[in-house]
Symmetry: C2
Subunit: 532 residues, 2 copies
């Protein structure tokens, strides 16, 4: 057999040759809309590569982008790949010190940005010594800034891709970990291509040349979950929006005949609200991928009742990111609606290429019995081996990468996240899921918000402490909440104590800041112990 390497440039060559008239739609930050095609993106990518070479870029150099989803950003990915560059998608939502850290750590030589992020760059550019040029994607050149359009317009499309090995790096994305400095995950041509052709499978995203996919997940979040590569592999139409306002997204979805979309739950909450207020519909939407965090059951039911296939995806920057994807099992039609929803609420199954296992704290593999939970590990050809500039592997000698999640593996292959490893409450050698306890507690009358953390116990090691924020004007009590939980969780999961607080600390994205709570309550003495 022949030895053609698996290259990202082959994806754009394929799309540009076999799907040249299929469209790429961009809605820009100012609300205007433009259309291009896979054929034109292929030609522009060659112009972009030529421009990078003219700016002195060499194979292996890092090129940063600080940009939302649009066709110019897409061109930069493929063009950078074709001259051997490593495209570093920077998340503009990071804190300033993280932005400075990762751009310096990556030693980015160029920074392409959307005009919307000019204030960030203006604020930080003095702290970014490696960056030789700042280039505006969507605005004319100005003092201190080149423009994408000028660079592209100065080149023709005759650039020949440089020689590449399939193991050459092509992309870089930093994890915004909650502790320590962000860590860089270096994607390779091979890993991106295998991930792309896996993603188009019917049991993953299910993309064909007839699909119209609108990735709402930003391109700086694990390559927009790989969608811009998968779409090229099959010639799907891509619909990008540089802003994620519900009205704009709903209109795009309807106007462009979007069949597939992918995003985090919060985006859909906003779109549902807009639909309820205006009567806007789903258009031709067939399939929705939800990741980032778990979708509420009610959201899943709403999509399903509208005849839309909805799938939970689980993954991380370290997994390119597809680790598992919800799929309809072969006996789907024999299930009741509620059974179907139960399945969709879980995190899905690994496609061919990903291996999962759960282990205990000593690294011993645990059974896939649908009950035992353990630390989730994974391995495969699109999973991280070592962080960028890391001094040691992130995976163990057998390739197992510890995800930091705690999960149950069901006998039918379905994976179910039960907690983050660091949030698990370890009681008497058994694990209590803080997430499940919280989810149960927020159902109790009078509870607005709940957080469960483990606190020291001399006999059990840890026992659950439940913090509750009351709903304004609704009566509740510790006894009432514990009583409510009795038929919702195992008896030994019941909190030893319930504490009412005025508020809970949150992260910038609205998640409860468990680390802070654990810190605040690390010396908390349970009442039962004080009494004993």
């Amino acid at each position: 057999m022949q030895s053609q390497p698996l290259l990202v440039t082959s994806l754009i060559d394929h799309a540009g040759r076999e799907h040249k008239d299929r469209e790429i739609v961009s809605r820009w930050a100012d609300g205007s809309q433009t259309r291009t095609t896979w054929g034109a993106v292929g030609r522009d990518a060659r112009r972009f590569a030529a421009a990078l070479v003219k700016l002195g870029m060499k194979k292996g150099d890092r090129i940063a982008t600080l940009a939302m989803n649009h066709a110019h950003h897409l061109v930069s990915w493929y063009g950078s790949a074709g001259m051997g560059g490593v495209l570093h998608t920077v998340n503009p939502r990071l804190f300033d010190e993280q932005l400075v850290y990762i751009i310096n750590h990556a030693e980015d030589r160029l920074l392409f940005l959307d005009g919307a992020f000019l204030p960030i760059v203006e604020r930080l550019r003095d702290q970014l010594p490696s960056v030789e040029h700042f280039i505006l994607f969507d605005a004319p050149a100005q003092e201190g800034y080149l423009s994408y359009r000028d660079l592209i317009d100065a080149e023709d499309a005759s650039f020949e891709w440089v020689d590449l090995d399939e193991r050459d790096p092509v992309g870089l994305c930093y994890t915004s970990g909650t502790t320590g400095n962000p860590k860089g995950v270096l994607y390779e041509h091979r890993s991106n291509v295998i991930h792309a052709i896996t993603e188009v499978q019917p049991d993953v995203i299910g993309l064909s040349n007839r699909s119209v996919i609108m990735p709402i997940v930003p391109m700086f979040h694990a390559n927009s979950w790989g969608v811009p590569f998968a779409a090229a592999a099959v010639g799907a139409k891509l619909v990008f929006s540089a802003t994620n306002d519900a009205e704009g997204l709903c209109k795009l979805m309807e106007d462009e005949g979007v069949t597939h979309s992918a995003g985090v739950p919060t985006v859909w909450i906003g779109m549902f609200a807009h639909m309820d207020a205006t009567g806007a519909g789903y258009g031709k939407l067939q399939r929705v991928i939800i990741g980032g965090s778990a979708a509420p059951r009610a959201m899943i039911e709403r999509f399903m009742k509208a005849g839309i296939t909805v799938s939970h995806a689980w993954g991380m920057t370290e997994t390119s990111p597809i680790g598992t994807m919800g799929k309809r099992p072969w006996n789907w039609d024999e299930m009741s609606f509620d059974e179907q929803v139960d399945i969709v609420c879980r995190q899905g199954c690994p496609p061919f290429g990903v291996e999962l296992r759960i282990v205990d704290d000593e690294g011993r593999e645990l059974p896939r019995d649908g009950e035992t939970s353990g630390r989730l590990q994974c391995r495969g050809p699109w999973i991280v081996q070592r962080y960028f500039k890391g001094e040691q592997d992130a995976a163990d000698a057998d390739g197992w990468f510890d995800t930091g999640d705690v999960a149950v593996l069901h006998p039918d292959g379905v994976m179910q996240i039960t907690d983050r490893a660091k949030d698990v409450i370890k009681s008497g050698g058994e694990w209590i899921s803080s997430i499940e306890l919280e989810n149960a507690a927020v159902g109790a009358p009078g509870v607005q918000e709940a957080a469960a953390v483990g606190v020291y116990h001399p006999k059990w090691d840890e026992r659950p402490l439940l913090l509750i924020v009351r709903k304004p004007g609704v009566e509740t009590s510790e006894a009432a909440i514990v009583d409510y939980l009795k038929d919702k969780v195992a008896k030994w999961w019941l909190p030893d104590e319930v504490v009412f607080v005025a508020e809970l600390p949150h992260t910038a994205t609205g998640k409860i800041l468990k680390r802070q709570i654990r810190e605040d309550y690390k010396d908390y003495k349970l009442r039962s112990l004080a009494e004993a």
Copy 2:
């Protein structure tokens, strides 16, 4: 990213782990039926590998099978792969001298066979010195023959796959070319895996864990078109039949809920006849892949009117075999039924991984304009580089493999075979498709069969001669036929002469033997020249 190799053993490991209860159904030569699962096939494959090692097989050794489609044959593929063997699927329909040639050329050390092929082996075994053991797949041991069941039963499933590189060979299949000795195509782990995950794409076969696929194409025809590997990648249910009688296939299709099938046109002609005679239906059939030779338009229309998606596949043993696959283009719904049928009648599009081009006799690339026809060439990671034991590459320095077909490439990426290269009539530097001329001629009143060949012409190099077998009892004439053709083909395609013959020579599979006709008419002198 991690460096896991792409291995055939990973396919069966995945299926055995993630889809362990999904069924494999086998209907045997005696009409009996058995069921197993991906989990059990995975365990049996390890037993099979252990048995091969016990028989002295080593990495790289060739293991032959002379067998139809069934679960034991499937086990032998994966088991052989896991001990580093090269599974050589022998086509039992070859002539004796070809069978002897290829088994000796491959130096097969073991030969697994179905009882149905005992007469072949009895006849030839003395001429097969490399074969150390003959082993019956579906019958007990007897004098001179071991049995598959005994070998498997003697082992447990604890065998550990040997260390493998993704470029290691795993399969061998000989082309039954019309000239010269058969040539062996050596498949590799990597090529089979990339081919498998490509094949499950919606625009190729479109397989999910909910699919039930019955490959009617035999496992000795280019790995049953790769279906047994693709099915493992997604956990599809496999339905095998060791015999291809229309009644049995129709019953299996209905009983097992077959959703996908793949086979040559003749199989469907038989099944249609059975359906017409008995009222049997399609069951849950959704999608049919037709390859091997072109499906008649009426067959395509019949499937489409029944709501079944039908696709032409084009490929060869040398292309693993998927070269192109018919797909519904994105503007399908806007087309009339006849336009849709026109699209399906063509040979489809290359999936990501295959590159196609057409060239003239000097190797110059020709335009993809939907009109120009040229020699079809292809390249990609599952296309042959060099035949087994070949002394030179089968592909040129840039990887282009000449398929021997003549085709037109349409601007939308669709490929259309117009002739075999050696059957093309070359007139004045332009090409006349003998197939199109014949297809047009058989539509003329009174014509039963037609063959077009090029004969010498001093000015035009070649001009078409049309041989016609008359329908019994129907009048026709040279003038009537030429007149009929006038609005069917270009003027310069009209045959210089029409010759009525009593019969035409055919191959064993019923195709017109063009080579023979060309030989018979090589010195034919056109009447127009004799007159001049």
